[in-house]
């Protein structure tokens, strides 16, 4: 005499299908968020209001001698030759087993490829001669609320 419970296979199939749909939606949402962030970063490193000659005439405003950043937000960067802009790369990838309980995680990234722009690190960290303009994390800070909302909406 006993009780037989059936339907476990069906529940497992449902959960698996749900998990698959969740990853698909999350990947789509992350892709949308990363695209927005990459666009915002590109805007913040795309100033064209001062040429190199202008900056020289202004006394090199990012340098030690005249640390008077002429822009707001302060981490904005001028686009001169386009090298830094062209180095910005973004994408979404699934990292298998890297999450809690060995689950896959979805990672979105926006960054500067240093093989394409060797001075990107200097712009971010600054130096003894140049103020730091961390255009990546500062942009993320400013955009964070909008990005979180976008992610939720897309999900």
């Amino acid at each position: 005499m006993g009780i037989q419970i059936t339907g476990l296979d069906g529940v497992r199939r449902e959960l698996k299908a749900y998990e698959k749909a969740l990853y698909k939606n999350a990947t789509r949402a992350m892709t949308a968020v990363v695209e927005d962030l990459a666009k915002a970063v590109q805007e913040n490193i795309g100033l064209t209001d001062h040429t190199l000659e202008d900056l020289k005439n202004m006394g090199h405003p990012y340098a030690l001698a005249h640390p008077a950043n002429p822009h707001s937000p302060e981490y904005s960067v001028h686009n001169q030759g386009g090298t830094l802009k062209e180095s910005i790369e973004s994408g979404v990838e699934i990292q298998p087993g890297m999450g809690a309980l060995g689950r896959d995680i979805i990672v979105g990234y926006v960054g500067a490829n240093e093989n394409k722009c060797r001075y990107a690190r200097w712009v971010i960290t600054g130096s003894t001669k140049m103020i730091s303009r961390d255009f990546l994390t500062e942009t993320m800070d400013i955009e964070r609320d909008d990005l979180e909302k976008k992610f939720k909406d897309e999900m």
Binding site: L64, S72, R121, T125, S127, T128, I131, S132, D141
Partner: protein
């Protein structure tokens, strides 16, 4: 007391830190400072990153640069900062402010040939409570 003054005051209480940098913990971006001696630490608030939560309570982001003659030297000092202050609450000696501070971005390393020093820059967050 301002947040950066609070951090300066409290970090300089660590023997592991001061044994290397003495009292050379500067407030401001390195490129704006004069008469700096190395090894040292400098700290600066992130521009525009103050988030007012409630009256007397605010969230700040700040950056910390640790400079040393070798990468191991700057790493060692930063290791002391991490072990003693990451996720810790610090309180001003005059009890006027209190802050919980924590690292939010792992360090980025660089080398400045002008001063022949290695340095790292890390990003921290502070939840500041004015008492």
């Amino acid at each position: 007391m301002e947040l950066l003054n609070l951090i300066q005051e409290q970090l300089l209480k660590s023997a592991d830190i001061t044994s290397v940098i003495a009292n050379r913990l500067y407030i401001g971006e390195m490129a704006t400072l004069k008469g700096v001696q190395f090894p040292c630490i400098n700290i600066e608030l992130n521009p525009g990153a103050l988030i007012e939560k409630l009256p007397g309570y605010a969230e700040h982001y700040f950056r910390m640069w640790v400079w040393g003659k070798t990468r191991d030297s700057s790493d060692g000092v930063y290791g002391a900062v991490m072990s003693e202050y990451h996720n810790m609450t610090i309180t001003a000696d005059d009890l006027s402010v209190r802050a919980n501070i924590n690292e939010v971005s792992r360090p980025i390393y660089n080398y400045d040939p002008t001063v022949e020093s290695y340095f790292l820059m890390a990003r921290w967050r502070a939840f500041l409570i004015t008492i």
